[in-house]
Subunit: 208 residues, 2 copies
Amino acid sequence: MQEIEKIIDYEFKNKKLLEIALTHSSFSTQNSNERFEFIGDLILNFIVGISIFKKFPDKDEGFYTNLKSGYVNQHYLNSLGEKLEIAKYIKYKGTKPIDLSDFVESIIGAIYLDGGLKKTERFVKKFILSNKIEPLIDYKGELITISRKLSGKLPLYEIIDEKGPAHKKNYKVIVKIEGIASKGEGEGKSKKEAEIKAAKDILTKILD
Amino acid sequence: MQEIEKIIDYEFKNKKLLEIALTHSSFSTQNSNERFEFIGDLILNFIVGISIFKKFPDKDEGFYTNLKSGYVNQHYLNSLGEKLEIAKYIKYKGTKPIDLSDFVESIIGAIYLDGGLKKTERFVKKFILSNKIEPLIDYKGELITISRKLSGKLPLYEIIDEKGPAHKKNYKVIVKIEGIASKGEGEGKSKKEAEIKAAKDILTKILD
């Protein structure tokens, strides 16, 4: 317990809260992290959103939404959980690999319940907002998650145009999700860049 | 301005913030309500979620998610906007009817920027959390919104079973969204009840 408190740089007054935040539902359905995950997610979105809003007063809501999703998405939070090695401290009975992003959220919820908003802001600023996010990076990962939920399948990327000489290519890509009417379009100097932009485009259409 | 401040029971120190919160992007793209709507939505979700969590300490995250969506969904917030008659105060150049839920959110964002979290909580408790929500009520409306986004069409309900004598019927309903693999199932004493439960079921599968 003391070890993980050192890692997350927060000492709990009520250790029971930290314990619950680190308990997977396979270990205890009654006192698992899921309730804390619910509030942790809300608090995280609130803190990240307000920080971005204040830091970039001249940007629009599309920019805010994109940058926020760079900081709160499952993939990014899961990497943070790996970096902090929180898996070592989680009570878990099961075989499937667990999603550490859920536990990052439940820890945030527990810090809020134990120490209030100011302390939670401190944690979020230190561990989550401290990294420079290139918001584009995670769109493809985010789209995989959403596509699996909606269609049970992976998103389909297709190059629809390829121009220019070898050293100065320009790609156009579209992305579709089976059964979904909206599609995403993106253009870029590499296939990857065009795909990321296409993923961003369809995500905006589906989620906004 | 004074009139709307009376209605929402909050007096702005900085009237400019209220003005922006009531300006549709068709009237001014630069100073429209959309940025405030972004933070208002986050603050609203945070306040409602935490209130529910504290009020029902023995419930699970599924209950929290459902009840929260009863309070923050577009349909409910739009009705509140109509009840408060905020349309009268909105600067708008256009022909389509506007969605008042966006303005309820931007007003919440403006109160937060002007008065901080405590004053915003006061507003949310007085106007949003004060109504007893039967979380089931809004599932069908919520599903219409989501189905339109995903498939461009309405959800399809189908009665798959009908049992019992006339005064004691039991209905089974399924609901589908075109192109979406998940479907919802519900059972109830009336078609409506079964449909609401089916809508709830598919929403959980799609959104959780």
